[in-house]
């Protein structure tokens, strides 16, 4: 049972990382902001200025 729960946790963490939810959570914790439209806009501004778009393979 414990192994199943661990696997489910990792699966969810993977999805959160792929879908940038984890990145947003880290941004909120780093900037001490609460989630809001303003915070999400700031998150995207930072991503656009600091990172080139992630390449996607064919």
């Amino acid at each position: 049972m414990k192994a199943v729960i661990t696997a489910a946790r990792i699966f969810l963490a993977t999805l959160r990382e792929i879908f940038d939810e984890a990145a947003y959570a880290r941004f909120l914790s780093r900037t001490q902001m609460a989630s809001s439209p303003t915070a999400y806009a700031a998150f995207w501004r930072e991503r656009e200025s600091s990172q080139k778009p992630r390449p996607r393979c064919c």
Binding site: E17, E21, R30, S36, Y40, P55, R56
Partner: protein, 680 residues
């Protein structure tokens, strides 16, 4: 585990794998079951991972679990971040898995299931997985540097410049070819066009929902988006049956090409959160789910492969694309076996997330194995179709004839019986007006996937829904690549132009955004237009160009890897990257020679230009002649670049091996990991 038991288990896997590969390779006459391919692939991957990747990790790379990775040393909570290895694995797989491993194997199925299967298995285990693994590790040891930076540092300035030019060239040709796949899948299909058009407002809605209503709740909005896409598929059926709507959404290839070009320009210039990001999330969600579902469907339904192991078209007379099995099967299938594009991802986001060097094996080698498994699924989806049906869908009208009766007669004459009535019934079953001449690979894959699913879930009655689900799934993939690829290329061009005039390098300056977006869209749009107007269907000339460009990038990556291995004094193991490199050089050079100089006009660009020049002069002739000559020139330039990198690298190898040049690698200094201390 007990050593004897371990020996027994691995011996059993080896015997089972050999038997399955033997059946796949040697069985002739009777159709075989798809499970043989599944068993052969599983055993090859398991053995490759357990033994070959371990050998590379231990003898060549000397993975060091005590060495701090950039994720740990440079952690900033943004791009550098210590991350669970399975999370990185999923992240990396989501980035490398695109429509390439689906489309390439479907096209190569014209040679039969055997050439593609053997190349996908051997290519992945000995070349593709190795490339992804070693480039990932070398990037980790260089603070997550990109392939172009590593090429410049390790092989010299020429390597860096060629890598940069190759990336731009690949992106332009890739974007054109994948756009052509979508155009061919949607032309004359009101259902498909309605569904795909609906994904644009759905993505915009998701963007606004994420920004204004539930900031950051991506998984939640992706589920919502997925439900809306399913409704759009259902709505597509209604649109195709409503005469007024059907006439609006029944578009010819040129109209679709213009719409896609306009769409990509808008997506590149718009704020990323509004369209690009939500579409990326939606396509990733659909992609991971559908790949999983297809895998389960194949294992549970274990369909029979109707395509023979080898067809008569191994001699180069194939209708899907011209050229013999060597080298064209190895150019056509890139992503499922080896893809240079993966080296960009292995030296992009992924190395900045790896917690320990030892995890590069599962992420680099393991994720590519999964990608290869997707290619095996695509081979199965194409080969479950009756060969006559497969060729009717994938052959251009210029080869098989303009009418259904003529096409059926031509294909039946090749020994693959099919009738116009069979094709009409199939088209009706999947909700299309016709399935003849639907080149590009996507429609054939969609019919194969619908065939597999409809055997279990809902039967023949829902085949049309499954078909359009598959078309939507591929088109969604591809439109994401068009958005993101155009934007990536725009950033690269802006980077370069910034050296000439600083404001052009600013990614937030709108005149620069519009100008560079227009430049990139015009570049790939030109090739797309050329493909749309090509009487042989476009894929015939563009897909090999894409394959050559992609393998060129893999050649650059393997040159960099071999150089580093030699500098690390592991020259006796250099064959691990040198042999795949030599193979790719042989394939790329031979294919390029044929594409430029082959006297057969269905293969050689110049021969086709000569035939056109000697025929009746129409308004389009001059343009077609110019396009063929342009394609020949592009191919020659690509090969010239391969030659330059090879010469530069070989000079470096000889210099180091003869002792004339110092064997100095540009790795970051060793720092002991804190993670180990914390655990102790």
């Amino acid at each position: 585990m007990n050593k004897t038991l371990s020996l027994f288990i691995w011996g059993a896997i080896a015997v089972l794998g050999s038997a399955a590969v033997g059946v796949v390779a040697l069985h002739r006459g009777e159709p075989i079951n798809a499970l043989w391919l599944v068993v052969a692939a599983t055993c090859c991957y398991v053995l490759g991972y357990r033994f070959y990747s371990t050998f590379i990790a231990a003898r060549i790379l000397a993975l060091d679990a005590l060495r701090a990775t950039p994720a740990e040393r440079l952690e900033n909570g943004r791009d550098f971040l210590v991350t669970n290895k399975w999370v990185v694995f999923g992240h990396h797989f989501a980035a490398i898995a695109g429509p390439g491993p689906l489309v390439g194997p479907v096209l190569a199925a014209q040679f039969g299931y055997l050439p593609g299967t053997l190349w996908v298995l051997a290519g992945a285990v000995f070349a593709g997985c190795v490339q992804d693994f070693v480039i990932l590790l070398f990037s980790v040891r260089r603070d997550g540097k990109s392939l172009t930076e590593m090429a410049k540092e390790e092989t010299g300035r020429v390597g860096g410049l060629v890598a940069y030019a190759a990336v731009i060239a690949i992106l332009i040709i890739l974007l054109a070819v994948v756009a052509l796949v979508v155009v061919n899948a949607l032309k004359g299909s009101p259902w498909g066009t309605f569904t795909i058009a609906s994904t644009i407002p759905i993505a915009l809605l998701m963007g606004l929902y994420l920004r204004r209503i539930r900031p950051g709740k991506v998984l939640e909005v992706s589920v919502l988006g997925f439900i809306l896409v399913l409704l759009a598929i259902w709505g597509g059926q209604w649109a195709s049956q409503n005469p007024e709507m059907a006439s609006v959404f029944t578009l010819r290839a040129p109209s679709l090409a213009i719409l896609i070009i306009v769409y990509a320009f808008a997506a590149s210039a718009m704020p990323v959160w509004l369209l690009l990001a939500p579409r990326d999330y939606l396509s990733t969600f659909v992609k991971l789910g559908t790949i999983g579902l297809l895998g389960i469907g194949i294992v549970v339904m274990h369909p029979t492969l109707h395509m023979p192991a080898l067809t008569r078209f191994v001699d180069g007379t194939g209708p899907v694309f011209g050229g013999k099995v060597f080298p064209f099967a190895f150019i056509t299938i890139a992503c499922g076996a080896i893809s240079g594009f993966h080296a960009l991802i292995s030296s992009g986001t992924t190395p900045k997330l790896i917690a320990r060097e030892t995890e590069t094996r599962i992420v680099g080698y393991g994720a590519m194995m999964c990608e290869s498994a997707v290619a095996v699924m695509a081979i199965i989806a194409a080969c479950v179709l009756q060969p006559g049906v497969y060729f009717a869908i994938n052959s251009p009208a210029g080869v098989v004839g303009q009418t259904a009766a003529a096409a059926a007669a031509t294909i039946s004459g090749w020994g693959f019986p099919v009738t116009a009535a069979d094709m009409q019934a199939l088209a009706h079953a999947v909700g299309e007006q016709t399935l003849f001449n639907r080149t590009g690979g996507a429609p054939a894959f969609a019919v194969g996937m619908a065939h597999i699913f409809s055997q279990s879930l809902g039967g023949e009655k829902v085949m049309a829904l499954w078909y359009h689900f598959a078309v939507m799934f591929e088109a969604l993939f591809i439109l994401t690549i068009l958005d993101a690829g155009t934007r990536v290329a725009r950033f690269m061009i802006q980077d370069a132009l910034g050296h000439i005039y600083k404001p052009l390098g600013r990614t937030s300056w709108y005149p620069s955004i519009l100008a560079t977006s227009a430049l990139i869209v015009a570049a790939w749009g030109y090739f797309l237009w050329q493909g749309v107007k090509d009487p042989l269907g476009g894929i015939n000339s563009l897909w090999p160009l894409f394959g050559i460009a992609n393998q060129l990038l893999a050649t650059v990556a393997l040159c960099v890897a071999t150089t580093i291995i030699i500098k690390l004094h592991r020259a006796r193991y250099a064959a691990v990257t040198l042999v795949p490199l030599m193979w790719l050089v042989a394939v790329t050079f031979t294919a390029s020679w044929h594409k430029v100089f082959d006297p057969n006009p269905s293969i050689g660009f110049l021969a086709q230009a000569r035939v056109l020049a000697s025929g009746p002069a129409t308004a389009a002739t001059a343009r077609l002649i110019f396009n063929n000559r342009l394609d020949a020139a592009v191919t020659a330039v690509l090969v010239g670049m391969v030659a330059m990198v090879l010469i530069e690298s070989a000079r470096k190898w000889i210099g180091v091996l003869s002792g004339r040049e110092e064997a100095r690698v540009k790795e970051s200094p060793f720092v002991m990991t804190r993670l180990a201390e914390e655990q102790a």
